[in-house]
């Protein structure tokens, strides 16, 4: 309960002002496509140079929390996920916004983010010593199987046909291969100088989701005004709280998935939302309605991606090993103030360490309050005429893609992928499985390559990749997941053919 004792410094006037500034700034940065939480935290570090260490870290903590949640704003309203973590939110959230339920979707998203976020920080506060060693025991073979587990959900994600989903996933895996291979440094598929740095995940994300959207809006021209004219239904916050709490299954799945995936270094917290969304759908009686504006989908995705925040810091704070890119940036922020994370952190600098963790907790409350306020305003975005909205999205997309690495090439790649995706969409492909392929490809590949070197030096490939409790558990999950997808597909086909016979 030591953390309660350290709440004092958080509730001073200057600290609260910093926390509010960090939260509001984080929400805005997060809502801007292309500015991922990692980028946002990195941008803020120079501002902490001249601050007191505890307050500097409060700013970073609040901003980290808020950017993760802020990414949902653009995902829901514009179908452009602010960061990979918000892909799953876009699937049902955008459908809700199209029905005029944007305010409701945003409210649900911030409330479930809050619940997930608080759960994650509590795990960080109470279970850190227990989980730190466990988190480190994940080696290349386990991460390889986790990535394969992710691949098994590609087929069923947001597409009507498993085959099209898998095909889109394969295209994604191929796109991930472009550029210099991250382990060996070999050139692959570099036909243009724009591809030298490979395809950055954020640029791909923006292109694949936003550009087809823009083209579709412009297609309507000035005549099809009805396309966007949705009535924005105001929604009571208390009702949203009720709805969120009325989905204990989605909250539980989101919380558990977010905490576990957040803990595993290198798994990429970005897939937490997608995995949780997929699991929530499998266990839901209304699974067919997912994708058409199901509140449960938004809740599951947002609970998970915020539950990931706390646990992702466990290996950093206790062992000085950053488990995620954002944690690596935060490490830089700590070091600048002469604070070395590690087993002695809580002994040597308890004030700073606890101020940081407490600011994550307080940040969750502030994030929800400011988020709900934004929700009321932002939902009106859909009333903007399509031609104007489309050009606005295009500007944001170009700006976002450029700002990732200050590179014109990312803009070219983003536009090219987006135009390609527009044509694929005409044939019933969807961007979510494609992006999942781009995310999982490098994780599976680099861990396979590393695992192979280790296996060849040790006991051989089979025993390294396929034996051991953790490997066996993960392999059985993969088998179960494949089995489930096949069974569903067969059942759907049978239903379809019965329907055809009946007519």
């Amino acid at each position: 309960m030591e953390f309660l004792y350290h709440f004092g410094p958080v509730f001073t006037l200057s600290s609260m002002a910093i926390l509010c500034a960090g939260t509001i700034g984080g929400l805005l940065l997060g809502a801007t496509p292309g500015l991922s939480p990692t980028m946002a935290v990195a941008l803020l570090i120079p501002f902490t140079f001249h601050m007191d260490p505890a307050q500097g870290l409060m700013l970073l903590g609040a901003a980290y929390t808020a950017t993760v949640a802020g990414g949902a704003v653009s995902a829901i309203l514009l179908k452009i996920p602010g960061a990979p973590a918000n892909i799953a939110t876009a699937l049902d959230g955008y459908a809700m916004a199209r029905k005029g339920e944007g305010a409701k979707a945003l409210q649900l998203c911030f409330i479930s983010s809050f619940i997930g976020g608080v759960l994650g920080v509590l795990v960080l506060i109470f279970l850190t010593p227990v989980l730190a060693q466990w988190a480190l025991s994940f080696g290349p073979s386990h991460l390889f199987w986790i990535a394969i587990l992710g691949v098994t959900i590609i087929g069923s994600l947001d597409s009507k046909s498993v085959v099209k989903g898998l095909l889109a996933g394969c295209i994604g895996l191929w796109i991930a291969m472009i550029g210099y291979d991250s382990i060996q440094g070999v050139e692959r598929f570099i036909f243009s100088e724009h591809l030298e740095g490979g395809v950055h995940i954020i640029a791909a994300l923006i292109g694949l989701f936003a550009i087809p959207q823009v083209i579709e809006m412009l297609e309507g021209g000035r005549h099809k005004r009805t396309f966007e004219m949705v009535e924005v239904k105001p929604h009571s916050v208390w009702k949203s709280v009720g709805i969120t709490l009325g989905h204990p299954r989605a909250l539980t799945i989101g919380g558990i998935v977010g905490v576990i995936i957040g803990l595993i270094p290198g798994a990429g917290g970005q897939i937490a939302g997608l995995v949780s969304y997929d699991q929530a759908r499998r266990f839901s009686p209304d699974r067919e309605k997912f994708g058409s504006g199901q509140a449960e989908g938004v809740i599951a995705a947002e609970t998970a991606n915020n539950a990931m925040v706390g646990p992702s810091l466990v290996p950093l704070l206790t062992l000085s090993v950053p488990g995620s890119p954002t944690a690596a940036v935060l490490l830089g922020g700590l070091l600048i103030h002469g604070i070395f994370p590690g087993p002695n952190l809580f002994v040597q600098h308890p004030d700073v360490a606890w101020a940081f963790i407490n600011s994550l907790l307080v940040g969750q409350f502030l994030m929800m309050i400011f988020g709900l306020y934004i929700a009321g305003l932002a939902a009106h975005v859909v009333r903007i005429p399509p031609a104007i909205l489309a050009s606005g999205i295009l500007v944001l997309a170009v700006f976002g893609a450029y700002s990732v690495q200050n590179s014109q090439s990312d803009v070219v790649v983003m536009l090219a992928l987006g135009i390609g995706m527009y044509f694929l969409q005409q044939y019933g492909f969807s961007p979510a499985p494609l992006v999942l392929g781009v995310i999982l490809g490098p994780i599976a590949e680099s861990n396979y390559v590393q695992g192979r070197i280790i296996a060849q030096a040790g006991d051989g490939m089979f025993s390294y990749f396929c034996l051991g409790t953790m490997n066996l558990v993960l392999i059985s999950l993969v088998v179960l997941s494949i089995f489930y997808s096949v069974a569903t597909e067969i059942r759907m086909r049978r239903l379809d053919s019965l329907g055809e016979i009946a007519t």
């Binding site: 830089g332 070091l335 002469g338 200050n406």
Partner: protein
């Protein structure tokens, strides 16, 4: 677009100011391109050492860090060597031996011949680390084991043809044993695999290993002298009896493109080392566990050339 505007602005400045360009230089903020992502060691040190640039004693203009990460630095350095400005307003951070090794090993657009060093700010030697529970207590233990089990000792490091890999290659050469190098996507994941027990040993940065001493044993340092400031008790490879010198030490500093006016280079070469010596910079660097190593332009030029010659020899057979 930005580059175009900057370029146009530079042209106008040249046209209007004529030969007095260096007298006014710099009259607007200067950018430094870092070829690694924000938050990494290079980025974080670059931000510290340039934070005093706005002081009238030094440049009198602030320095802005621009990150262009990708492919172990290749993306940023290629872009810099082909399209960076030559007006002295666009600088870049270098990492030795990374960019020299890459320019030897791959057909890169950058070599030491089309870049001009300004000054060096840091030197981070590589160290050999093993997990806390490892049976190895000295480099000798590890080498003896590796002699009996050739190719069985896994050693992690941050990628191929970076400082860690160079130190690994030197170690193999000096000890005559065969090990297994496991490249990772950066120093942090490579260190994680040592602490987590996925590999038996690792080559990593002194600064990062120093901070993780509670979960690691540091066996040796790949430098010519011991590091008295951070790790006074850790022997060098040479003291341990193996001929590994300081060729893998990760030097960081600032450079410009060849073609930058000589008077601008001269002005930078004079002001920048003074800026690195600022007490505030030293304090922040020490706080971050990052060793400072300030070298002037002539010293860096000589160091680049020595590395180039040595690495050509070492990487010849690979």
């Amino acid at each position: 677009m930005k580059r175009l505007i900057l370029g146009m602005a530079a042209l106008t400045t040249v046209a209007l100011a004529g030969p007095t360009v260096a007298a006014d230089y710099p009259d607007r903020p200067v950018s430094v391109m870092v070829a690694y992502s924000p938050g990494g060691a290079t980025d974080f040190q670059a931000r510290i050492v340039t934070m005093m640039a706005g002081d009238e004693k030094y440049l009198g203009q602030p320095i802005v860090i621009v990150n262009k990460p990708g492919a172990g630095g290749k993306v940023g350095w290629s872009a810099f060597a082909t399209s960076g400005g030559t007006d002295g307003y666009e600088l870049a951070a270098y990492n030795i031996p990374h960019f020299i090794a890459q320019s030897i090993k791959f057909k890169t657009k950058y070599t030491i011949d089309n870049l001009e060093p300004i000054a060096n700010w840091g030197a981070d030697p590589a160290v050999l680390v093993v997990g806390k529970d490892s049976p190895f207590n000295t480099v000798g233990d590890l080498v003896t084991y590796a002699k009996e089990n050739p190719g069985k000792v896994t050693v992690s490091g941050a990628g191929l043809f970076v400082g860690h890999h160079i130190a690994y290659l030197q170690m193999e050469k000096a000890t005559g044993v065969k090990l297994a190098y496991v490249p990772h996507k950066g120093g942090a994941p490579a260190l994680k695999s040592v602490i987590g027990g996925q590999v038996m040993a690792g080559v990593n940065n002194l600064s990062d290993a120093f901070r993780s001493q509670d979960s690691l044993k540091i066996l040796a340092i790949a430098d010519n002298e011991r590091n008295t400031e951070f790790l006074p008790d850790v022997p060098t490879f040479k003291e341990a009896g193996f001929d590994v010198d300081d060729s893998s030490v990760n030097f960081r500093g600032l450079m410009v493109r060849k073609g930058t006016p000589p008077d601008v280079i001269e002005k930078l070469a004079k002001a920048v080392p003074e800026m690195f010596k600022d007490p505030k910079v030293a304090k922040q660097m020490k706080a971050g566990g990052s060793p400072l190593k300030i070298m002037n332009r002539e010293e860096v030029q000589a160091m680049w050339q020595r590395r180039e010659d040595y690495l050509k020899e070492l990487l010849k057979d690979l």
